[in-house]
Symmetry: C2
Subunit: 257 residues, 2 copies
């Protein structure tokens, strides 16, 4: 239960903190409201303990309850805000996103790898896909977004193999690549070109172009992507329009970090 990470601490390990976080993360689309029992089942904590954690969160204002069900309040956004307020990176990226989305008429994103998924950290412009407005913190399988492919392309073969191991590719659109070889080919291509181009993986008629963002030591900090309507534009033309702007942001950030 206490998933002591590889490099183990003796026991400066606050079990209560881990469990509390697990409780918060137990809420999602499919489980917007939890009873102590359900929360316990979803987190592997005992029912009595889960109830204690929920009550604590309630008194802290992070959770509300009608006495039976518990649900998250907007206050949990404070935690995410602590990151935005403290981290230089998203703040440095934002003006670039703004510039690119205005110039290209698409939605731009800054994403990072979180565990083996892509997580969206910053955004500008209106989303092309209906109802996808508040993607900050959202995570999807890395192969589904251009930003994810751009970052995977920066990993070594071993790391890619490890990423791909035991992964199942879900079909989101008729054009989603769902074979290991297909995804590998896509990564190889991105590695060769130095940018990623993805079409209709997640939604129809949407094309994504992304470049990885590194710091001076070469460490991957994330990726900037732009989503464009495909329309009648050729891939080559879209890349020709988008890539210079993405590269400009890439170089500007490279020299900053």
């Amino acid at each position: 239960m206490t998933t002591n990470k590889p490099d183990l601490d003796r026991s400066d390990w606050i079990a209560g903190l881990e469990k509390g976080i697990r409780i918060i993360e137990a809420f999602n689309d499919a489980h917007p409201r939890l009873t102590p029992s359900t929360a316990a089942r979803r987190t592997g904590i005992t029912r009595t303990a889960a109830r204690r954690y929920l009550l604590t969160l309630q008194h802290l204002g992070y959770v509300e309850s009608d006495g039976r069900l518990f649900w998250l309040t907007p206050r949990v956004l404070r935690l995410g805000w602590s990151y935005f307020d403290s981290a230089k990176l998203p703040r440095a990226v934002q003006p670039h996103l703004q510039r690119i989305s205005v110039a290209l008429g698409g939605a731009t994103f800054f994403a990072v790898l979180d565990e083996d998924e892509v997580m969206f950290v910053a955004r500008d412009g209106s989303s092309l896909v209906q109802n996808v407005g508040y993607v900050l913190g959202a995570r999807i399988s890395a192969n589904l977004s251009a930003a994810g492919i751009a970052m995977l392309a920066c990993l070594s073969d071993d790391e890619v193999d490890r990423w791909i191991a035991g992964r199942r590719f879900i079909q989101y659109s008729p054009y989603t690549t769902t074979t290991v070889e297909g995804v590998l080919e896509c990564i190889r291509k991105a590695r060769h070109l130095g940018y990623a181009l993805l079409e209709q993986q997640l939604a129809m008629s949407v094309r994504g172009i992304a470049v990885p963002i590194r710091n001076r030591e070469g460490k991957i900090l994330g990726a900037i992507s732009v989503s464009l309507h495909m329309g009648t534009e050729t891939p080559e033309h879209a890349v020709a329009r988008a890539l210079p702007l993405l590269r400009e942001a890439e170089y500007a950030l490279l020299s900053t970090f």
Copy 2:
């Protein structure tokens, strides 16, 4: 230290969870990186304990460290995402924000009251103010945003008095209202009109118009606001343009919740 909230629990109170959250929230713009000692001072936790919490967060991946300093990782956004993924409200609001920002050419926000500040929960469109892209979770004093005034206008006189008590109004622009009477007048006007109109409180040449969002029982869920460049447009004209769209969203949400 253990701020047992008014209605006390016997002791289903997980101290570790509260402290861990306090540690996360100790990071901000002025303190992007913390040592165990600084974290301890900022949170009121002892140094040894603060170090334990930071190490725990590190092993959970929410914090990174170079051995001396600790800083938050984007992973904390997961927590905010739990709210977005689970709550119906921001998801229901988003399409309206999108529609309004496209129609009016401004940035739209959905905000709630968190303690006595305004917190931004959802957004659409590009910000008018430079470098303010990732406002989700950001909090400002309620009197500085139209959304805040719109919500304050829904409170009783007693509640407004309690909100205003001991509050100091900081000057952000030459036009910021910094007197108690000025802010009260602003609230009264919004209460009378049923919407809030604010100009140049936080930034020059920006005008905000907001309406409160209630549910069927009349409880305030939040407020929708739109930020517009003032330009040469009269306030009356801006209201005439914006208010119907805001009202439309208000009624749509009223019937949903």
